[in-house]
């Protein structure tokens, strides 16, 4: 049945620090994110926990907005959300890793999970359910 996760695994012929820069410096992001015949405007790029990102991708068919929030940012890992204006309400949770292969190359992985899937895995746990019960009780009193 339909997968709830999309992952990518690449070996880049560049050191992790350079790969990290390509994700976190607006000038560099603008050079690879959009397709060749499109332009990318990096409106917001705040690579730190709680910061956000927002790119406007303009092509012949008009503009698409991609955006998200950073949840964790370190030299070897970025955790962020990913949303696309074409499908509002669908929020991917994306984990990017930059592993140093020690020979000037980087193993890069991108694991994107649909939060509905993530909800399915923790929804059965006691903690989340208890919180929901308390929320429900609170709502009844309001």
């Amino acid at each position: 049945v339909s997968e709830q996760e999309v992952s990518f695994d690449r070996i880049f012929d560049a050191a992790p620090a350079l790969v990290f820069r390509a994700f976190t410096e607006p000038d560099l992001v603008a050079r690879w994110w959009a397709e060749k015949d499109e332009t990318l405007e990096v409106e917001v790029l705040e690579p730190r926990a709680g910061g956000s990102w927002r790119f406007v991708n303009t092509g012949n068919d008009g503009s698409d907005v991609f955006s998200g929030v950073y949840h964790a940012v370190s030299a070897d890992r970025i955790v962020q959300t990913f949303e696309y204006s074409g499908f509002p309400g669908i929020v991917l949770l994306e984990t990017l890793t930059f592993d140093d292969l020690g020979d000037g190359r980087t193993r890069f992985t991108d694991t994107s999970v649909f939060p509905a899937a993530a909800a399915g895995t923790y929804g059965g746990g006691g903690g989340a359910n208890e919180s929901m019960d308390r929320l429900e009780a609170l709502l009844k009193t309001l």
């Binding site: 339909s2 390509a22 994110w33 309400g89 509905a116 399915g120 929804g123």
Partner: protein, 107 residues
């Protein structure tokens, strides 16, 4: 919730995914669908309601059996979305690879 959203939410649960897999082999009654799981018929019935609301299954009119049938259209839509996202992202990382190459060896 839009359609795609409710499809993802409906598929988030492992029991519901297993029900979909079972129904892809042909229609089945709620009782038959409950058999492989250590949960009550009532619990199965709740899962079936979620799947029905998401448009992933239809229920027969026969009040005794209420056989369930898979409705594959939303699954196809979800699969299309994921395929498009995968393709776009693969292309994007191809361009990243090219950029990293250029940064290492300025022309």
């Amino acid at each position: 919730m839009n359609d795609l959203d409710s499809t993802f939410a409906a598929l988030a649960d492992p029991v519901r995914r297993a029900i979909i897999t079972r129904l892809s082999a042909g229609e089945a009654t709620p009782g038959e669908l409950a058999e492989p799981f250590p949960i009550s018929l009532q619990a199965i019935s709740k899962h079936l309601k979620v799947l029905e609301r998401a448009g992933l299954i239809t229920r027969g009119r026969d009040a005794q059996r209420r056989p369930c049938r898979l409705r594959p259209e939303p699954l196809a839509e979800t699969a299309d979305w994921i395929a498009a996202h995968r393709r776009r992202t693969e292309d994007r990382y191809d361009r990243l690879e090219q950029l990293l190459h250029e940064l290492k060896e300025p022309t």
